[in-house]
Amino acid sequence: MKATTFYLTQIALFLKASLIVFALSSSHGFAEEAKIDDSQPVALSVEELKKKVIELNRDLFILEEDLLFPANTQFAVFLSLDTGQFLKLDNVKLKVNNDVVASHLYTERQLKALARGGMQRLYMGNLKTGAHEVTVFVEGIGPDQRAYKKAATLMLEKGTDLKAIEIRIQDRSSDYQPDLSIVEWE
């Protein structure tokens, strides 16, 4: 019986010792790691690199806009969605001067992001100065779970400044219908 106690206790001690060894070796490991790069932990340098990468991405973003969409011809279309109570948006199609320039199918996650106040940049392009016609077609599931389609058109005058418009899908509580409009941003 003594031998039993001894050996099982030994197992337990092994385990305990192994945990202690593990704990010690963990701290020892850190000491060894310090030799690899004792200037700073990788996490910190990753954070600094992330910061630099964000700045670089910002510069590239602006550079790309300047290159591809100069301010005097730039034309941007954004889409916003109200709470989406009366319309579960499925897809949207955008026409500029009768040409389809953008279309999009929405995922659940994108719809949630829109419903929380996000705005989607649906299209970015160039337009000459003068009058242009913009038409948007929206499809989804409307009230009473019925397929819903709606379109809206805007005649806009493009000057030499950049032009941005917002396709706004709102809930209209007066008749429990979704409302689609195109709004020009100053």
Binding site: K16, V21, S26, K52, N57, F61, Q110, G117, G118, M119
Partner: protein, 719 residues
Amino acid sequence: VLDSLPRQYLQVCSFSRALVAFCVWSICSILALGAATLRAEDEPYERPTRANDLLYGESLFEYYQGRSFEALTILNVAKEQGGIEGHGDHPLLVEGGLMLAYGMTREAQAHFEKLLSGELKAHVSSEARNQAWFYLGKVFYLEEDFAAAEQALGTVDSEQLLKDDESLYLEWRYLLAQLALKEGSIIEASTIDLELSSERNDLWAVYVLYNQALSEHQAGEPLELVTLGLQQALGLLESIAQEHNTDANSESGNEQKALRDRIQLSLGQLFLEAQQYAQSVQHLKQISYDSLVSDEALFQYAVAQSHLGNHRLALGALNRLNERSLFTPWLQQVPYALAFLHEQLDGTGLAAQSYKAAGDHYDKVLLNLDAQQKALSEESLLAAMEIPFAVQGNDDANGNDYNDDYFSTSRPVLLGESTAKNDAYGRLAVRPSDFYIVNLLATEPFQIALRDLHELYKLQNSLALWKQSVQAFEFMLETRKEQRQNKLANVSQHLETQNADQWKKQYETYNQAITKALSEEDLEFFMDEEQLEFAQQIRDAKQTLELLPDDEDKREYVEKFERIERFYDWWLADRYGVNRWAAQRELGQLESAMDEFETRRLYLQRELENERFQEDLDNRVAEAALQIDGLRTQIDAALGVARKKLMAKVIQEFERQKVEVARYQLSARHAQARLTDRLYRESTNTAIPIDQIVVPMDPNTAPSAAKAKASAKQQGGEP
């Protein structure tokens, strides 16, 4: 207690970690559009119900999809282009939240400290500010930066927090208690009002009581005091379950069960350590087979039953453990323990075989570990892990894990993929596919090292893509430059054909003639078409008159002609003002046209010569290319360090496992030798010295063998 704070910490931590995403999310939700009211205390602020700034709206759109990097980039673009309008200082607060979500905790800390205590303090409601400090403190706590956590949590106004959100208040108390425990302070259990905690459904208080008891045990406090603390934790848990009628299958029910099992296991272990086996068994029996801690409980149960002489019950528990396919440290010892119990139950022969089998098993494990360590590479390490990835087609599903619907596929880890599932800190949701990695994956340093490597690969991939973009920009600019040169050449040629100088000269001549006529009051110069015609008629008539013979008719004609000439002179004088004004007006118009022409010509000339815009773009593209190259070098260097750190941790783990297995191997061989010797003695009645028994031994464990031999002699064990 075999598994005291470190393991317990992981348990609590893993529970808490599920809330990390929520925690970071909450910070942003509080601060972003559509969340709690933020307003200046002295000035009413009407929260906008929709984005008032396109870039802010776009940034929110990216953020709400878990694309923190893109959202941060857009916020930075907005800042660069003059800031965000119509949302006060909220974007700055949201930026801090996004930094947290993107794993930039140090940056976020500095950002929040600046915002929440600086000039913007007055623009944030005390409720939002209080909660922001709480969440920031919690993030630091989970990041194991306890000093920063203490500082942030210390800023929280407890009364306000209790008034605003009781659950946050309870959690805040828990975090403070945990911080105190980590500093070695003992919290009096009496400070926790058990009745009130039960009423409030305060599970955090159970954690505090439990951790407190384990701290007391570590501090060497008597068993009675420690077990009393654990019993109090258990009592509070039961009381909460009864009072709030928790559904056993709910999230809270599962948490309570896990907590209950954990407390029972600790009680069982404490009594086992104190050699109170019957009491140990009573607690261990309460743990169900499907519990997270059932492996440990079964093994401790086997040990306790063995001490009580119930070898068959102990064997049953070990056999049950042996049936489990997952490899855990608690299963590793089973072959040896089984052999030991065979020795107790069935005598020497079977036990010797079992010890031999256990020894062989450990030999194989050691060989396997050795081979894996030798073949260790980044690829082999990643092959030992699996990670859920976004379903193909849902390319927007990277980032936070608050929507698990997208993550339905799992495959070996490919670091740097943006579709890999990770938590709010970027930690990968890895699962082990090889046993040697199991323990390692449960450790925070390994998880962080893996996260860093993953993040660095992601950055490296991004840079590779951007490099391609910049090369495309360079190509575009080069093409654009060529086109511009061609266009400018055409324009120059066209300008030349216009003979601009000749036109200018003619204008000058005309201008001088008018000026001269004006100064000389030259009436005829300003004659209109009718007058010119009339003048010509007069000249013709005069010539005709000169040819006529001098007679009565001629005199009559001359008189008439002279009357006409006088009328003509009078007419010229009368129309002079009008004619002069008409000529001057035409000159003015011509002058304007010439000026405009000149301006346009000069503009074109300037444009022909001006390369500044093009050069500016060229410079920006070149600068971006340089930045990318510089960053690539830095990322490569950081990757090298991160890789080394990760591999060092794995090698360390291999060594640890080899030492552990070698111990079991040595014990198994030792026992095998002992029994073989006993069998031999029984058959020959002759003893063999221990150093003559040949025990197969892995060369790596040779020193341990010597130690074991010495230990056996010291203990007076039989050879």
